[in-house]
């Protein structure tokens, strides 16, 4: 220090403070990078990059941005839009799909995307039989795929499948030559776990498991249009409260796991835009229709009428009550469907017809320990059932234990709350996973089985005519409601927070937390 400068102790503290602030305040860091990098705070790590074995929203985020499928979906309700395929035709009987590839499509290696790569990718997905392969299992067969020249792929389905275009966004196309060169003895799994062989607009620049994944725009991205992003960072922030604070501070541009409480706290936050939109994500309480007291349909109906739906919606935060088994707005959903609403007289009427007309029994309800909302719902049920003189034993469990309990009707509890996310924007997804008897033993539908409902689900997925399909799903909803296998709960709204500098965002109710970054800009 030069002579003569005297600084008071307080002044020194203030100087230290401002210099610290200047060095660690986020804006300066963004400026330092000097580029348009979108930062997304998310709670889930990305375990693997393999497009045919990984699933979950974090992996979907990575894959949606680094790989291309044949078609994507966009809008509300989600409609197929071109991706690798710039056009397609469907035969009258719904069995033949012919896709014409965009001749501009290039892999990151510079090689063009060919029909051969498409066939190879579908086959690889089917062989590995993990990740999203269930979406095409039994529908696409190796024999049913033909590469006609470099730019045309013909699919001949074994059975007509109305949701085919809706599942295609989740089957990603890999570069055959790149995978073959690194095949190993595991179909290239080990290599694809950390490497990308795709044609997407971004590639992986940095990956630190458990911390961050940095994607950068490929210099020769073939996709037309798009926003001004040079890169995207998926930053792992486990606590939703931390996600909220970082969004408020401007350290991240988007947060994808916010709770209703976080949304309320962000209401007046400057520079923050809240997205609260209905999504195809159901939250219901499944009942044991196969074993124990609730195998009695009258008792199930009594409980369905006794439930305090008002309290359920209040405990759920930003959500809407469900009308029957299908989410609002999805194809075939019947908004006029008559469902159970709180009505104690009717509840007692049905109880009187059941095997326990006076109540006096104890039912068992489990919930994921630590999930506050599920615990609240269990308490609401406890309170609701008191009116019927039915006692409720509430058991908090770990999720793996709950999954194990689904294996047989004997171990399945009487009441079982569960979230189900639609993986693609078609009613078949929820109808099949949650109500088809082939899923018995798995948590999405542990016990419910009704051959007529099965027949309707199968008919609806094979029906090409969309009016006839709607009619089938209407009938399906009526039958399920009549069976009362679930207490139909709420559709939780998707809650995203973003900085107002993010431009070009369009909500779509399918996997909206696996953000597609291509169209976004930072202003």
């Amino acid at each position: 220090m030069t002579q003569g400068i005297t600084v008071s102790r307080r002044g020194l503290m203030a100087m230290a403070g401002t210099s610290l602030a200047a060095a660690s305040f986020p804006q300066s860091l963004f400026a330092q990078s000097g580029r348009n990098i979108l930062i997304i705070a998310a709670g889930q790590d990305i375990p693997s990059f393999d497009p045919h074995t990984s699933s979950g929203y974090s992996a979907s985020f990575l894959l949606r941005n680094t790989y291309d499928p044949l078609v994507r979906v966009a809008g509300i309700p989600p409609e197929p839009v071109p991706a690798l395929a710039d056009s397609w035709t469907v035969s009258e009987d719904g069995l033949e799909y012919v896709f014409t590839l965009n001749p501009a499509a290039r892999f990151h290696s510079g090689a063009p995307v060919t029909a051969e790569d498409v066939v190879y990718s579908f086959n690889r997905a089917l062989t590995l039989a993990r990740g999203n392969a269930w979406m095409i299992r039994g529908i696409v067969t190796p024999e049913g795929m033909v590469a006609e020249g470099a730019g045309t792929v013909r699919f001949t389905l074994g059975v007509p499948y109305a949701a085919f275009l809706q599942v295609l966004p989740w089957i990603f196309i890999v570069e055959k030559a790149a995978v073959e060169a690194n095949l190993g003895n595991d179909q290239g799994e080990a290599w694809l776990m950390n490497n990308i062989a795709g044609s997407g607009p971004f590639r992986v620049a940095r990956s630190q498991a458990g911390t961050l994944f940095h994607l950068e725009r490929t210099p020769e991205a073939w996709q037309a249009g798009g926003g001004n992003l040079d890169g995207v960072i998926w930053q792992i922030v486990r606590e939703t409260a931390s996600q909220r604070l970082m969004l408020q501070r401007g350290e991240v541009h988007m947060a994808v796991d916010l709770t209703s409480e976080d949304m309320d706290a962000l209401e007046a936050a400057p520079g923050v835009v809240r997205v609260i939109e209905p999504e195809y994500r159901t939250f219901s309480i499944k009942m044991n229709t196969a074993h124990g007291p609730l195998a009695d349909i009258n008792l199930r109906k009594a409980i369905s009428y006794a439930t305090n739906y008002q309290a359920i919606i209040e405990a759920a935060g930003y959500a809407d009550l469900m009308t029957g088994p299908l989410p609002d707005g999805i194809l075939g959903h019947d908004p006029a469907l008559e469902v159970y609403r709180t009505d104690l007289d009717k509840a007692r009427e049905h109880l009187a017809q059941s095997a326990h007309p006076e109540g006096g029994i104890t039912l068992r309800m489990v919930h994921v320990s630590g999930l506050e909302q599920q615990r609240r719902w269990a308490l609401i049920m406890l309170d609701s059932l008191k009116a019927l003189n039915i006692n409720l034993e509430i058991v908090p469990m770990n999720w793996p234990d709950m999954v194990a309990a689904c294996k047989s009707p004997e171990t399945f509890p009487d009441l079982f709350p569960v979230y189900q996310t639609a993986n693609y924007g078609d009613p078949d997804n929820i109808a099949y996973a949650a109500y088809h008897s082939s899923r018995n033993g798995a948590w999405q539908n542990a016990v419910y089985a009704n051959p007529e409902v099965d027949a309707l689900i199968e008919a609806a997925r094979a029906e090409i005519d969309s009016e006839a399909r709607v009619a089938l799903y209407r009938r399906f909803q009526e039958m399920v409601v009549a069976d009362a296998p679930d207490i139909f709960g709420v559709l939780e709204r998707r809650k995203l927070g973003m900085r107002d500098v993010v431009q070009g965002y369009r909500f779509s109710p399918v996997a909206s937390n696996a953000v597609e970054a291509w169209g976004l800009s930072l202003g």
Binding site: F25, A129, A209, I233, N398, W399, P400, V403, A404
Partner: protein, 335 residues
């Protein structure tokens, strides 16, 4: 001394065997269906069985144990069921972050706790003593994650002096990887700016972790200092007219530190095992976070791996502490 060290290192063998046996027993006793969970909600029964075969989980538990132990002898910690990544690779990636945090916390606890303990012993039953006593009780009883949240609120949200979480700004490139300790790596790279940034990121989580051991070390140091000060040789030294400062620094402190060292060794293991909550609050990418995720999905290989690493580190830390006794007090003999 060499035989002493060797014998202590040999002790690791029963520790490792004991840990693996206990962890395998727990894995067996726990209800739940980790394979079904890892296979995903849409897997068929055949796929679940295939996954089970692939990971050898259809074998009797003693076969699984033998496979694991023979792999362990070659440094193979198994493969995570959920991520299919080798556990050893994952631990190698996460361990430095946790060690850096724990060591930083211990450093703060020792550097502040020992002098404070000495001071409060010398000023016994006067206001600095009372003040520190109250603060120590507060520090011990305050849950670390809650303290972490308070620190975040104060220093990151209101004052905006320090970052909210993480280890390094994500839009910057960290120093080249040498030790995995970002502080050391940035020093090795001669990048003082990166070093400063790393220290700022390290500050809040390490303070949150350090308070409880700091308070314990301080109380321990105070108690043993008071005890030592009542010894005959201190009275003798006083009688010989040695200055108070000289007595405290030269004779009392050394002897008092010996007792405190044991606490430090024990705290090291306690901190290693207890980083989970602090790491979650500060998004510190360490072992704690890795272990929580694995526990939640009942992914046993990572859980066993983390337990082993913590067990081994615990034994090593106590060995180092035992060797330090000799440095502090030359009369200690290793046999």
């Amino acid at each position: 001394m060499l035989t002493f060290v060797l014998r202590r290192l040999l002790m690791l063998v029963p520790v490792i065997i004991g840990l693996t046996v206990i962890m395998f027993a727990i894995a067996r006793l726990l209800p739940g269906d980790p394979v079904g969970l890892a296979a995903g909600p849409n897997a068929t029964q055949a796929e679940i069985e295939a996954l089970s075969r692939e990971f050898g989980l259809d074998q009797p538990v003693w076969v699984q144990y033998w496979t694991y132990v023979s792999g362990l002898a070659q440094g193979d910690l198994g493969t995570s069921l959920a991520t299919r990544r080798p556990v050893a690779t994952d631990i190698a990636a996460y361990l430095p972050a946790t060690l850096e945090l724990v060591l930083a916390a211990m450093l703060i606890a020792v550097a502040v706790g020992i002098p404070l303990g000495l001071i409060t012993a010398v000023w016994r039953n006067r206001w600095p003593d009372y003040l520190s006593q109250v603060m120590a009780i507060g520090a011990i009883s305050m849950p670390r994650f809650f303290l972490g949240l308070l620190l975040q609120l104060g220093f990151a949200m209101w004052l905006m002096w320090l970052p909210l979480g993480g280890r390094f700004p994500i839009v910057m490139i960290p120093p080249p990887h040498v030790t995995g300790f970002l502080t050391l790596d940035s020093l090795l790279a001669g990048d003082m700016e990166a070093f400063g940034i790393t220290m700022r990121y390290l500050a809040l989580p390490s303070i949150a972790m350090s308070l409880s051991p700091l308070a314990t070390i301080m109380r321990m140091m105070r108690a043993s200092t008071i005890e030592v000060m009542q010894q005959d040789y201190v009275t003798t030294a006083r009688a010989l007219g040695l200055s108070n400062r000289r007595i405290i620094c030269k004779y009392v402190a050394r002897n008092a530190v010996s007792a405190t060292l044991t606490v430090i060794g024990l705290y090291f293991g306690w901190l290693l095992g207890g980083t989970v909550l602090v790491e979650t609050v500060f998004d510190w990418p360490g072992l704690g976070l890795y272990a929580t995720r694995a526990i939640v999905s009942q992914d046993m290989m990572p859980v066993i791996g983390v337990a082993l690493v913590i067990g081994v580190l615990f034994v090593l830390a106590n060995l180092v502490i035992d060797l330090t006794y000799g440095l502090v007090n030359p009369r200690v003999r290793y046999t």
